[in-house]
């Protein structure tokens, strides 16, 4: 059984990943519903599933290449694994993120970047730096002598033009112009990944390379963008994180998780908007009918 990220008998989370920290920053009430009560929408997220299959496929390809397989054999193995893993993936009313478009996107990406990619996988202790799980103590006190811990998963560490970067794969329906890549600076996830690389893997990185795939009905387009981070920016991010974690401590102590009602419309609308728009005494009825319990755990091994 996976260890709990919460300090026993409290609502204080001490192991944080970018998802939980991002939720807290967006809206403490959204964080409370998702992390503490463990509610998720009954209908599965197409985007999460599609992105997960895509990232796992590319991870598999890089591992097979490192194991000595040729591009053709690594591609065949990757397509075989992905077809099996996604056998039951048939989202309703979805014309972009479909199983066929997933397979097409993987093949097109690996044809374009596979053997010819100038970004090469970093080797750490004789192993390829692919799908790395990290966890580190922040030295920020939480409770009962315990410190806050930051955790997460990196897709890959790469060398590119003489510098080291974290590489992160994204799939989107958005067009891949400068506007798309601007979203990642500043960005909670990219800053945590850059910091983790510096602390855990002892590899100071210049930032994150975002390999984005725009999934269209009849094609997939790719673009590579950079979310650069200086040492000073990472120090600032960690100092800010201490402030956020201190707030989480106060919310947990007071058992009060305020709504940030300026964030309800972000990204097409919060999943809990229909809950928060109901009168407080009937919210739990709506939650029980539209949501199910599935606790997000930053310590879960992927």
């Amino acid at each position: 059984m996976t260890e709990s990220p919460f300090i026993a008998d409290t609502s204080l989370q001490y192991v944080w990943d970018s998802t939980s920290l991002g939720l807290l920053k967006t809206c403490p009430r959204k964080y409370y519903y998702t992390l503490i009560e463990g509610w998720v929408k009954k209908e599965k997220s197409v985007h999460l599933d599609f992105g997960g299959f895509y990232a796992s496929a590319l991870e598999n390809y890089h591992k097979k290449i490192f194991a000595g397989l040729s591009h053709e054999d690594a591609l065949d193995d990757t397509i075989s694994q992905t077809l099996i893993a996604s056998a039951n993936f048939s989202p309703d009313n979805e014309t972009y993120k479909t199983r066929e478009n997933l397979i097409r996107s993987i093949i097109w990406y690996l044809e374009e970047f596979g053997p010819n990619d100038p970004a090469t996988t970093v080797i750490i202790d004789g192993r390829p730096a692919v799908e790395l799980t990290f966890k580190f103590d922040t030295d920020i006190p939480a409770l009962n002598g315990m410190n806050f811990v930051l955790s997460g998963h990196l897709d890959r560490l790469v060398e590119f033009c003489g510098s080291t970067y974290v590489m992160d794969q994204k799939t989107t329906k958005m067009s891949l112009g400068a506007h798309y890549f601007k979203m990642y600076s500043p960005d909670n996830q990219m800053s945590l990944y850059s910091l983790a690389s510096r602390i855990v893997f002892n590899t100071p990185v210049s930032g994150v390379i975002i390999d984005a795939a725009q999934i269209l009905v009849g094609s997939t387009r790719f673009a590579r963008g950079f979310a650069l981070r200086s040492e000073a920016e990472l120090d600032e991010w960690l100092a800010d994180t201490e402030v956020w974690l201190d707030r989480a401590k106060n919310y947990a102590e007071e058992e009060k998780w305020p709504m940030n009602d300026t964030a309800c419309g972000n990204y097409g609308g919060c999943a809990f908007r229909d809950v928060c728009s109901k009168s407080p005494q009937v919210r739990h009825v709506y939650l029980a009918s539209e949501f199910e319990k599935k606790h997000w755990n930053p310590l879960e091994i992927r």
Partner: protein, 69 residues
């Protein structure tokens, strides 16, 4: 490889697909990628001829540069 035969491969139990089946899928998508051009990758249209107008601002820049050089 027709679109319908690819659809057929996708509808099968993936555990029963052979390497040859998968290679048909890969080849079909490779060909589609080769044939695919996004609108901005299509051959550019010949540049439109535009009549040059006299711009006094540009003329003064030329004069300044001449002075520096």
């Amino acid at each position: 490889m027709t679109e319908s035969s690819i659809d057929l491969l996708f509808s099968q139990d993936p555990l029963l697909l052979t390497k040859e089946d998968r290679s048909k899928i890969i080849e079909a998508y490779r060909n589609a990628q080769k044939n695919f051009r996004t609108p901005d990758e299509k051959a550019p249209k010949p540049a439109k001829q535009v009549k040059k107008k006299f711009d006094p601002a540009l003329a003064s820049i030329d004069l300044d540069l001449d002075g520096i050089l």
